[in-house]
Symmetry: D2
Subunit: 180 residues, 4 copies
């Protein structure tokens, strides 16, 4: 049983990636939990500034969790600037980053065929800096995501649900094995 | 002779990457110009929102320029979230992005040995989306940058100056060849 | 009008990537040509050894061409080792590499959904070393390739043909603009 | 205590990466072992061919080991074609790959400043396919490697030795935690 924090890279109200993150929470084995960070609406990172209270709060939640799940839309063949900006705040100072060594899972949904392959590749590169181990397989690369959720953002596609169950089982074992 | 817009990925007042961008401007052949975008202090991109006036203004400046030069610090083995966020705004809607086909050069300064290799690799990946051709060589990967500028941010290192002159000569030819 | 050399990353007789490269040749505007390198069956690169005659011959052909088109299957989320090995031979010594500054186009076919996205990203990274400019868009990422060719390897899918015609028109202009 | 197989990406007799791999073996805690694969001199991968006996033997050795250490020189901003070719053979068929889930460490030596950053980034991307977890930190990126070994390939640099000891301690714990 693990306690996870979920972070969605999209700020949109009707985000399919937030819907996917909710579906991940529903696919977790009984006893494990996923609580979502509500917003990444932070100032642009600038080391001249002090840490915003919203950053301190996200740090606290990650620090208290066993692992993190990122839902990453793909913007410009990479992760959203807003998510990268949050990571820039969260990772400073490096020695006190709550991401250091924290086990991570990632999922992504896109309207096209690539299913956020490029964004997830960048996110894996980025997390090497924080020494945060990422679950490798199964990858959750959801293509044509708009066909898999209903108007309320509920997952309706059975094959996606099966994939998420497999992902969640692997993730819980992975987080357990790599817990700090 | 080309007119370039410079965009610095760091928000810090004493940014060495901004100092590097200024040094690029000084190394340009006579007749070519580099004007800096002052700030990337934008809201986090959200397609539910309208375009902020500051984005419209940066779009206008890029559209009017022959090319763009990015100075990219490396945060978390990638480009800064603030720079990525600016690109997310600038690239929408894709058909009207001022980056579409716009020739690009990039430089980066870091305190360590890697000289922003990873960040520049990501930026090249990202600009494929916008069909924006990037000068490939010479790469400007400035390691131990703090030893190459004085307290006022003036470039003091002769070998870096020589590299920038070579870079600028190549960039002006590249922008000329790829001008829209 | 441009003369191109085509290099297929697969050694398989019934390679869909070779079939795709043939289809690229057929989609070129009249007057432009694409001639295929028959094989990448080379020794493993070792700078202790002298250059194999087959390498010298491929170097000669690339040197004589206006540009190169690579067809890249995806093996292990990257380009095939055989193609990478050929590039390792072709690029030495760096100052005399026939790839230096040579304009490049790339295409890729895969049986799955990703259409060789990861392999093409790596190939773009790799060619930065050789200062070889790559056409960025349109990308030719052929998913479910087995459904688009007949048993003799002839392209049967109209939408793929249309994409290849757009790719070829862009490539010919790109090679013309960047010819050495 | 773990038993590791070492694979060097260079075929050169006087390879600094092989010397680095030997130094890794010497930096292992007592009781742990590193045995080197002698050569990657394999035919170019072609799924039309049967598996060469040398591939079967390397598969057997990896299967019997607790983990793998790769020493990766950087050729053309990526891993050597010969190493990639070996991985292409070793990973087929995917369900029986001895790399599947096998814990991995990587090190790299280069004469320049980048210390094989780009090659190691590609290798990490590649191993996601095989679900092979890689130790993330500390990274072993040896710049100016020629200054750190003597003419017989013995490590002479104390700071590199300290780094390797830290790497080996982390690797042994990592392999233990992720052993199949």
């Amino acid at each position: 049983m693990v306690a996870l924090v979920g972070i969605c890279g999209s700020m949109r109200k009707a985000s399919l990636n937030r819907a996917l993150l909710v579906a991940v929470g529903e696919a977790l084995p009984a006893g494990s939990t996923l609580e979502l960070v509500e917003s990444l609406d932070l100032p642009i990172f600038n080391s001249d500034l002090g840490e915003p209270p919203a950053v301190t709060e996200i740090k606290r939640r990650i620090g208290a969790a066993d692992g993190v799940v990122f839902a990453v839309p793909e913007y410009n063949y990479s992760i959203p600037g807003g998510l990268k900006n949050a990571l820039d705040w969260l990772s400073r100072p490096p020695s006190q980053s709550p991401l250091r060594g924290k086990p991570v899972g990632m999922v992504g949904a896109a309207s096209g065929m690539s299913g956020t392959i490029r964004a997830q590749t960048h996110l894996r590169n980025i997390l090497v800096y924080s020494d945060a181990p990422c679950l490798l397989q199964p990858e959750v690369l959801i293509a044509r995501a708009q066909d898999r959720f209903d108007a309320e953002g509920r997952l309706t596609d059975a094959s996606t649900r099966t994939l998420l169950e497999k992902f969640c089982a692997s993730l819980v074992a992975f987080v357990g094995r790599n817990k700090l």
